[in-house]
């Protein structure tokens, strides 16, 4: 049963030419588990349909059904499943191979794992040509070069001879697109084509896809990012738990969503709201009060000061690289400082230096006016619990042998040992329960292993552990980047609650400008290890002074999504 609020499936209006993709009542099951149910959509040449949804919504399985790539354990049924008029139901393996590449191209999310790491880029691009009997070799090589230049790879002759690892993420993604369009397929399926990319690179790839679409290719875009969808798609199919909850023209669906799930997805986008507004309908966190013996510093007092910090590394090739170059900033009590930059801008190294996990090559960090980076580890230990951290991948920051309860208890004992104080009468098991409840988790999770939890639950555990030490500063390094947008919204709300309840200062590091704008009081823009702009968040985002910041902001897709000006932070 579908709960589609706009049932356009069977009665979809076909105007002009016959659709290049026609999917009607598609269902896919693995064993007795139905993953996709009753999905219907059509796509005409030169148009783009986007399938959006979160992890587990079945969007990728839907797309792979058009390629016959769901594996032998999948049972696929549909009343229509055709590509360019050809019925795809009951194709033999050999017949599928003729379809793939020729009728339909496929672009995957991460080009580093999608390209054979041991083969030259040119050879990977030539694969489709060879498979479909384009030859001889010299002709193929010429075609590869023209394909690479068509997708905007500079000096294609050089790039074709390089290995994927020698290319940047953006170039790899272009090479992958070149391979997918090698035989001029009528349909291109792009599954999260820009998710792993920096904002500016993402903008270039989206422009390239848009160009292909304008050239007459039908584009099926799989994405969780509604900004990307709004920019590129004509029609949108919103999926949740394997069923279509809403579909239609992109303007109608995103501009006036009918289904609560679509509304929730839209509401979860930080840039759609005034900074600081609540993003999810999750209840406010019920955080246990901090002990009176451990008050937060007076709001506005200087907590962390980083001055003229530089970090150089000598690589295995004996070349010294400056990763962080003369970075200075101050963090005051109760304040959230956002650090934004693309990959390789030195964000994470800056965080490691602030945490005193990496010593700076030059420059100093002080904590409450006292030396911090220049101390010996032994001298620093007493203040360690006051600066806590949450990383992008919480699982790797948990001792794999420990359960959730053990992890949090370990943080409690660590803080106690470091502070050389017995805790103020609060029992450890009581504290573990308080902390878990505080971050919105069930107490029973204490006995589980983090590896059995979902991404959002793990991130909450990481936050609970960070709070266990009653910190004055939280260093959040891409703490919400790996989460689905609705889960991200809940975690951002939780962090806002923590800030409101405890007045904890935060260093919030992210590549996501929307998130940074939402959470930050002040913003620091990093580029190649240097600070290019710093100022109050609103000022930096409304009227950026540095051309790099302007470029970053321009590259953010779909900023037109309804911003509600009446919303109060």
């Amino acid at each position: 049963m579908t709960t589609a609020s706009q049932p356009t499936s069977a009665t979809s209006v076909v105007q002009g030419p016959a659709p290049v993709v026609d999917v009607r009542n598609l269902s896919v099951a693995f064993g007795d588990r139905t993953v996709v149910q009753d999905v219907s959509f059509t796509l005409e040449a030169g148009r783009c349909v986007a399938i959006v949804g979160e992890s587990g919504s079945g969007k990728s399985v839907t797309a792979r059904s058009l390629l016959g790539l769901n594996g032998t354990t999948a049972t696929t049924t549909a009343s229509a499943l055709s590509l360019g008029g050809q019925d795809l139901r009951d194709l033999s393996d050999g017949a599928w191979r003729k379809v793939r590449g020729k009728q339909v191209g496929y672009v995957l999310q991460d080009a580093l794992v999608s390209l054979d790491p041991l083969r030259k880029v040119g050879a990977s691009v030539a694969d489709a040509l060879r498979e479909h009997g384009v030859g001889p070799r010299s002709i193929r090589e010429q075609q590869v070069l023209s394909l690479l230049s068509r997708v905007g790879v500079p000096s294609p002759a050089l790039r074709a001879r390089q290995l994927p690892s020698e290319l940047s993420g953006g170039l790899r993604q272009r090479a992958l697109i070149a391979a997918a369009i090698a035989l001029d397929p009528a349909v291109l399926i792009a599954d999260e084509p820009t998710t792993a990319l920096d904002t500016t690179v993402q903008a270039q790839i989206l422009a390239l896809l848009d160009e292909l679409r304008a050239g007459g290719t039908g584009l099926v875009l799989i994405s969780h990012d509604l900004g990307v969808v709004e920019q590129l798609a004509d029609d949108v199919v919103v999926m949740q738990h394997g069923v279509v909850v809403e579909q239609g023209p992109v303007g109608a669906v995103l501009g006036d969503p009918q289904h609560p799930y679509t509304k929730r997805l839209l509401a979860a986008i930080p840039s759609a709201h005034a900074p600081g507004a609540r993003l999810s309908d999750a209840p406010r966190a019920t955080l246990a009060p901090r002990p009176a013996s451990r008050p937060v510093p007076v709001a506005g007092s200087l907590v962390l000061s980083v001055s003229h910090v530089t970090k150089r590394y000598r690589g295995p090739d004996r070349v010294t690289r400056t990763v962080v170059d003369d970075v200075s900033f101050e963090l005051r009590a109760g304040e959230t400082l956002g650090i934004v930059g693309e990959s390789g801008s030195g964000k994470s190294t800056t965080a490691a230096i602030a945490l005193a996990l990496t010593p700076p090559s030059s420059g100093t960090v002080t904590f409450e006016g006292r030396p911090w980076s220049d101390l010996s580890e032994r001298a620093r230990r007493g203040d360690r619990p006051r600066i806590a951290t949450v990383s992008q991948d919480p699982l790797s920051s948990f001792d794999p042998r420990r359960t959730v309860g053990d992890l949090i208890r370990s943080a409690l004992t660590g803080a106690r040992a470091a502070r050389k104080s017995s805790d103020d009468g609060r029992s450890d098991s009581g504290r573990v329960e308080d902390l878990l409840t505080g971050v919105g988790l069930d107490v029973g999770i204490a006995r589980r292993h983090p590896s059995t939890l979902s991404g959002g639950q793990r991130q909450r555990v990481a936050i609970a552990r960070a709070l266990a030490t009653d910190p004055d500063v939280l260093v959040l390094d891409e703490a919400v980047s790996a989460l689905d947008v609705s889960v991200q919204a809940q975690v951002l709300d939780l962090l806002a609650d923590i800030r409101q309840e405890y007045g904890t200062a935060a260093l919030f590091i992210s590549h996501d400008l929307g998130v940074i704008h939402h959470v930050s009081d002040r913003v620091l823009v990093l580029r190649d290890g240097r600070v290019v702009e710093e100022g109050p968040a609103d000022q930096v985002f409304r009227s950026p002074r540095d051309p790099y910041t302007q470029g970053l902001l321009d590259a953010v897709p779909g900023v037109s999504i309804h911003r509600n000006p009446q919303e109060e932070p």
């Binding site: 790539l69 594996g71 996990l357 360690r384």
Partner: protein
């Protein structure tokens, strides 16, 4: 078995409908739980049997393994002598059972010695800094390059042939394999984010070392040890077979194989039974080792 092998996209297929509260328990059954496998229990039972034989042999074989009865030499397996008798009329079954003690002692002893040396070298290399690590790496390489048999010959020339020499020879020969692994593990775990996280929480260096770093670095060893004991027993038997171990007529599996080799054509059971026991014990230890490996994976068996 799922599409994940074909297209490394999102793990969509694994979890179609995550329940909001208990989301994330995504179990893809790859194999049955190790404790529900018959092979595991058969292997474990055999190991238990050998353990009993090693600790209290007369419980399983009341006859004296050294008792000579020349009138009964080369008797084929029968109700009275289930494994037959050897050239001096000694009961092969009793000898196999009583030989377990020697073999297990050598296997466990050699593995313990190998591990101790390996942990010392590996931790030293992994934590001692660049100069120490360079020395440790060279030592490991030299040990690797040194032929095990030559080492055993030297040790026997110095200490004479005994179970102790066998332990020493096999133990030293196993050091480099374990040591390289320990060193690599220590280096990997030392740089792991969770070790940094522990440090950032304010734990002392000693706490981080003994409660987090070393336990995690040693974790893969638990499996290797189970596998290693079986391997060490095979090696010890090989040394016994070459006459470099316990001397006849004392019962030891390798020595029994050697003694029986000359009579293989007329009395196959002299070599067959100790050989079968060695093979079964090594197999059983491997099977149990694999099960332990699965059970100790982070998050339990999947």
């Amino acid at each position: 078995m799922t599409t994940a092998t074909i297209a490394p996209g999102e793990p969509d297929v694994l979890d179609p409908a995550p329940a909001p509260a208990a989301a994330g328990v995504r179990k893809v059954r790859r194999a049955s739980h190790p404790l529900r496998r018959v092979s595991f229990w058969v292997a474990a039972a055999f190991i238990a049997l050998v353990a009993v034989a090693a600790l209290w042999p007369s419980l399983l074989a009341p006859q004296d393994p050294l008792a000579i009865d020349l009138g009964k030499s080369f008797d084929a397996p029968s109700a009275q002598h289930v494994f037959g008798t050897d050239q001096s009329g000694r009961d092969v079954y009793s000898r196999v059972v009583h030989g377990a003690g020697q073999s297990v002692l050598i296997g466990v002893g050699a593995t313990a010695l190998g591990l101790a040396g390996a942990v010392l070298l590996g931790v030293l290399g992994g934590l001692g800094g660049r100069a120490v690590d360079a020395v440790v790496t060279r030592v490991i390489e030299v040990l690797y390059a040194f032929p095990g048999i030559l080492l055993a010959l030297i040790l026997i020339a110095v200490f004479g042939s005994s179970a102790g020499t066998q332990i020493l020879a096999v133990g030293i020969a196993t050091i480099p394999g374990y040591a390289r692994m320990v060193r690599g593990q220590v280096l990997a775990v030392r740089g792991a984010p969770y070790v940094q996280a522990e440090r950032a929480l304010g734990h002392s260096s000693a706490h981080v070392l003994f409660r987090t770093l070393l336990p995690n670095a040693f974790r893969p060893l638990t499996v290797l040890v189970t596998l290693g004991i079986g391997q060490a027993i095979v090696w010890a038997s090989a040394l016994g077979f070459l006459g470099m171990g316990v001397q006849p007529p004392a019962p030891e599996w390798g020595a029994m194989l050697n003694a029986g080799r000359n009579y293989l054509q007329q009395a196959w059971w002299l070599d067959f039974w100790p050989g079968v026991v060695i093979v079964l014990l090594a197999l059983s230890l491997t099977a149990v080792g694999r099960a332990v490996q699965t059970l100790t994976q982070p998050g339990g068996p999947r």
